[in-house]
């Protein structure tokens, strides 16, 4: 894992992304430039519909830019994002993306199972679930847990393998303050362990704990928190 001063782990230059909705063309990203270094925790803020989720989708390879480029540094240099494994790029999507057929523990452990590291990851999974207060829900199906509990499972899953890049879309949106702080503690800890962390959030506490805050409005990115 690279250190905080080893150059950008993620770099976006002049990214443009447009969607067509009927006769209307919506510009979700309008010349976005972004750099996140390894070990850096960056908070991405902005109103709903400003393009935050689109930027995250672009970074994880689910969307492609109409113009501009997305590059990764360090061990990920030269590769496309959609080829990254979970240890390389982990994600907490806004929709959480829990597998409805698996219980919560299996959801947390799924990346370890799919990368052949199941046995080695069990202790860490247990720690994370305990830390997030969801260890007693291990055998429940996602639909048998609250949205906040599901969200903590999604964050635990993202943190399990200590990813080089962590992208999170509103990871504390459904949490009370206490649980939100717990999540933020772990996310900050992951950054301090060397991960490049980009979190889209409305949570002002999260802004305060981030190394940098970037504001997004109408598809454009500016440095600093919104006024």
């Amino acid at each position: 894992m690279t250190g905080p001063d080893d150059g950008p782990a993620v770099e976006v230059r002049g990214a443009v992304k447009r969607f067509t909705r009927g006769a209307e063309t919506v510009t979700a990203l309008d010349g976005v430039d972004l750099r996140v270094r390894a070990g850096e925790f960056v908070a991405l803020v902005g109103p709903s519909g400003s393009g935050k989720s689109t930027l995250l989708a672009l970074l994880c390879g689910w969307e492609t830019a109409d113009a501009g480029s997305v590059t990764y540094g360090g061990a990920l240099a030269g590769r496309r994002a959609d080829t990254f494994g979970w240890p390389e790029l982990a994600l907490v999507p806004q929709a959480l993306g829990l597998l409805a057929d698996l219980d919560l523990a299996d959801n947390v452990l799924l990346p370890a199972r799919l990368t052949g590291a199941l046995a080695a990851s069990r202790p860490r999974a247990g720690e994370l679930m305990e830390a997030f207060g969801i260890d007693h829900l291990a055998a429940r199906a996602p639909h048998q847990a609250s949205l906040g509990e599901q969200q903590r499972v999604a964050v635990a899953r993202a943190l399990l393998l200590g990813p080089a890049v962590l992208l999170a879309d509103e990871p504390t949106a459904h949490q009370d303050r206490g649980h939100a702080d717990l999540l933020l503690d772990e996310v900050v800890g992951q950054a301090r362990a060397g991960s490049a962390v980009l979190v889209a959030t409305h949570d002002e506490v999260a802004w305060g704990r981030a190394d940098r805050v970037l504001s997004m409005r109408d598809g454009r990115l500016t440095e600093g928190a919104p006024r």
Partner: protein
């Protein structure tokens, strides 16, 4: 401003158009409604088709004229040609065109026509042989001419001409009228029977006895000759309305008979002393039997159709639930605003009415098409078509109501159901036990009844024999699926230590236990029903064939003769030579009553061991040893001077056989349960013909020589004639078996097989709904799992394991249930209790293999479809929508 009533709000007024915006839900309702309507409409169409086919098949077995309209008079003198005009006019008044079919007069001096005037030859000597005079248009073109001269007069058969010394050109005097002999033709009983003469057989052949010659048939060349001769005697005249028997429905036949009765009523009354009307009296019997066959079918078919309809209704309900799922956003909103299940059901009904109506129409059309292509006959009664239309309409109303009701409840339930709530109580009650209890009750009732009933010679399957296994299969399938699904949590723990594909597949199955169990039942049921019905159909047919084969002695035919002749190489080439002694007897075995002399009747077949096995009908169940081995025993040495015999119905040991009055002690050296050629319930003995002493006529042993052949009749008759024998009769399947007697059984199981295929279609529809209903979670799970490191191949493997696993489990369960049902039932399904053998088991392995392959292929295709749907998903959109 007051709020408008609910039904005037946009969600309801725009519902029919809104529904069309959900193609998947529209398709689901359309297809499921079509399946329901098809099930409902198929029963009346099938019954009508079976009735027509029963009529047509009976008519096909006889002469064409059996199905024709016919009126006529059989009267004494004076006979005039005017009667023919009366008959034609009577038919014309009914709007039907008739043909003069027959004018027949009995003449001569025999008992056949007491009081008839003699035929006198040119020398004035009366001819002693009886004769009949026939005029029928085209007769001269349908005879084999021996010799002829031009002119009007009569044709005489060759044997009559030879016996009477007549030749073409001679003059005879018939009933006092001079007539010229214009030709000699080969006797009709000596030439192969033709369609033209088929219905006139009683005029030239005497099937009842080989010894009494039929009256000679003189053929008048023209009507003038006929009426000149018969003016002073009497004659029967017929006018017939030909119809195509292979297109006749029972309604057509009934209308024809009604027209016949009215037409006959218009014919002037014939002279009262000897006159009589002669309408077609055979057709009403055929029609009645066709209706009897249909009545026998109705018992099993209607409940089966209802059961199929109920299954289809479950599918329609699932489609309603699917609609609620697809319209979840809107119905949740409406439910949250206080809209109850009933208005939501109304909205669903409005949205689904158009596809349901289209589906019902499609289902009716499909049912009609299936009956036309696969049904017993394509000639349906108009009333059946109307009944099927009403059934389709009822299916539309009930189906729409069911879909809408379930949609309303499901929509409401979606909004109100708390997270993690336990399963509702109806899903926990083992309703299937009621099915098993009902099956047991049917079985108890069946034990006191015949499984196959004979009503006026028509075999009918007892409805309980159909209900019992179907109820047992359905109940067991649901119960087993419930028990197996209860094991899924354990399977889940096991899968935790397996590959990702296995792990995901098992977790998907375990997470949706009810859906998994339903899918398992949906696969198990058609497999079990198809296995059961196909096996019973195959076994019934095999048993029937075996009964016919045993009765005849071979799968082909037996040409019999009372003449004495020796076997020749030509006979060996066409089959095998058998001498049957019908009047044999042995001392009654211990514990069995005999006649006054303490003896019991046996049939003895003297055979050629070298050729017998080649032609004789045999099934390995007939004896513990194969037939060649039994025949080899016939070649063994005498035992205490007794030639060896093989017996069916007689224990091994010495037997003091008597053939008529001749004592022929034999030794039973081998035993069989059934032997070919057994035509009575008496025991049968097979003996090497060369080991039997000469049994002459004085012994009165009822000796008949037979040629058994698997080939056509003509070569056998030729070989028999060449050997010096005179053919007496041909025993073949048509003679032994009135096929129409067993149509009810064949069609009952045919319909059940169709039901199984139908249930299979329902299962396929259920599979698609299962996939569609879970597609949202499957696709989002796939998208996320791909990011987590799941490969596409592993995901596809998991789908194949998930769906293939259910298919394999369903195949195994279905096969076991079918095997159990067959084992319990098949011995009771004796289609003809009188004839041996008892029911034989014949497993349709090919059909089973095809079913298994189809189920697996279907599962594989479904997995590929699901994978394709997942591949097409846009990850960003899926995870955004899921939010």
């Amino acid at each position: 401003m007051s709020r408008p009533p609910l039904w005037r709000l946009a969600p309801w007024t725009r519902a029919p158009l809104l529904g069309l915006r959900q193609p998947a839900a529209v398709l689901a309702v359309l297809v499921t409604s079509a399946i329901l309507a098809c099930a409902a409409a198929s029963a009346p169409l099938f019954l009508s088709s079976a009735r027509s086919a029963a009529l047509q098949q009976q008519l096909a077995q006889g002469c064409a004229e059996v199905g024709w309209g016919q009126i006529g008079v059989d009267s004494g003198p004076p006979v005039s040609q005017a009667a023919d005009a009366d008959l034609a006019a009577a038919w014309a008044a009914e709007g039907r065109v008739s043909v003069p079919a027959l004018a027949f007069a009995r003449i001569g001096t025999s008992d056949v026509a007491p009081g008839a005037l003699p035929v006198v030859d040119a020398r004035g000597e009366p001819l002693s042989l009886p004769a009949g005079l026939l005029y029928r248009p085209g007769a001269a073109e349908n005879i084999e001419v021996v010799d002829s001269v031009d002119g009007a007069g009569v044709w005489v058969p060759q044997t009559y001409a030879e016996a009477s010394g007549l030749a073409p050109g001679d003059e005879v005097e018939v009933a006092g009228v001079p007539v010229r002999v214009v030709g000699v033709y080969t006797d009709l009983f000596r030439v192969p029977e033709s369609t033209y003469w088929c219905d006139y057989r009683q005029l030239y052949a005497n099937d009842a006895s080989g010894n009494t010659a039929p009256p000679a048939l003189l053929l008048a060349t023209d009507e003038a000759t006929f009426y000149a001769v018969t003016a002073g005697t009497g004659a029967a005249r017929l006018a017939q309305v030909p119809v195509a028997a292979d297109e006749l429905s029972v309604t057509d036949a009934r209308e024809l008979l009604a027209a016949q009765a009215r037409a006959q009523g218009r014919v002037p009354t014939p002279p009262p002393a000897t006159g009589a009307f002669v309408p077609n009296e055979r057709l009403p019997g055929v029609v009645a039997r066709a209706e009897l066959i249909e009545a026998g079918l109705r018992g099993p078919v209607v409940p089966v159709a209802v059961a199929g309809g109920l299954l289809a209704l479950v599918l329609v309900a699932a489609a309603g639930s699917f609609w609620a799922d697809r319209r979840a956003t809107e119905v949740r909103l409406l439910a949250a605003r206080g809209v109850g299940p009933l208005p939501l059901a109304g909205k669903a009904a409005l949205e689904l009415a158009l596809p349901a109506l289209a589906g019902a129409a499609l289902g009716w059309t499909v049912a009609r098409g299936l009956i036309a292509v696969l049904g017993p006959a394509d000639d349906l009664d108009p009333a059946a078509t109307t009944a099927a239309l009403w059934a389709g309409a009822a299916a539309f109303v009930v189906g729409l109501g069911c879909a809408a009701g379930v949609a309303g409840l499901r929509a409401r339930g979606t909004a109100e159901r708390p997270l993690g709530a336990a399963a509702r109580w109806p899903s926990r009650v083992p309703w299937e036990l009621a099915l098993l209890v009902a099956a047991g009750w049917c079985w108890v009732l069946l034990r006191g009844q015949d499984a196959v009933r004979q009503d006026a010679g028509v075999a009918q399957v007892n409805g309980l024999l159909v209900a019992f296994p179907l109820l047992a299969i359905a109940g067991s399938a649901v119960l087993l699926a419930r028990l197996l699904s209860a094991l899924l949590p354990r399977l889940r723990r096991w899968a935790g230590r397996r590959s990702p594909a296995v792990f995901l597949a098992v977790n998907r199955l375990a997470a949706a236990r009810l859906a998994t169990a339903t899918l398992l039942v949906a696969v198990t049921l058609p497999v079990a029903v198809l296995g059961y019905t196909a096996t019973l159909t195959e076994s019934s047919q095999t048993t029937l064939d075996a009964k016919v084969g045993v009765q005849i002695g071979t799968t082909g035919r037996a040409v019999t003769s009372v003449s004495r002749f020796d076997p020749t190489p030509a006979i060996d080439a066409v089959g095998t030579y058998v001498v049957r002694y019908g009047d044999g007897s042995v001392p009654a075995p211990a514990g069995q009553d005999g006649d006054s002399a303490g003896r019991v009747d046996v049939q003895v077949l003297a055979v050629d061991p070298d050729t017998f096995a080649r032609t004789a009908f045999w099934d390995d169940s007939f004896a513990d040893a194969p037939l060649p081995e039994l025949l080899e025993a016939l070649r063994g040495p005498d035992v205490d001077g007794r030639p060896p015999v093989v017996a069916a119905g007689l224990a091994p040991g010495p037997a003091d056989l008597e053939l008529g009055s001749l004592a022929v002690p034999v030794q039973v050296v081998a035993e069989a349960r059934v032997l070919p050629g057994r035509r009575t319930a008496d025991p049968v003995l097979l003996v090497d013909a060369s080991r039997l002493p000469d049994v002459d006529r004085s012994a009165r042993a009822d000796r008949t020589a037979e040629i058994w052949t698997e080939g056509p009749t003509a070569p056998a008759v030729e070989a028999l004639t060449a050997a010096g024998g005179v053919p007496l009769r041909v025993v073949d399947q048509a003679l032994v078996l009135n096929t129409a007697n067993f149509l009810g059984i064949t069609w009952t199981f045919g319909y059940l097989s169709a039901l199984a295929v139908f249930v299979g279609v329902i299962a396929a529809g259920g599979l698609l709904l299962y996939l569609e209903a879970r597609s949202r979670s499957r696709v989002s799970g796939y998208v996320m799992a791909r990011r987590l490191g799941l490969t596409r191949a592993a995901h596809l493997r998991s789908l194949l394991l998930e769906l293939g696993g259910v298919a394999v489990a369903g195949l195994v369960l279905g096969t076991l249930l079918a095997a159990g049902a067959v084992a319990v039932v098949y011995r009771r399904l004796d289609v003809d209790l009188i004839r041996p053998p008892t029911p034989l088991l014949d497993v349709p392995w090919t059909a089973g293999l095809v079913t298994a392959v189809l189920a697996l292929v279907l599962a594989g295709l479904a997995a590929l479809y699901a994978q394709h749907a997942a591949d097409r998903a846009d990850p960003a959109s899926v995870l955004r929508e899921d939010a």
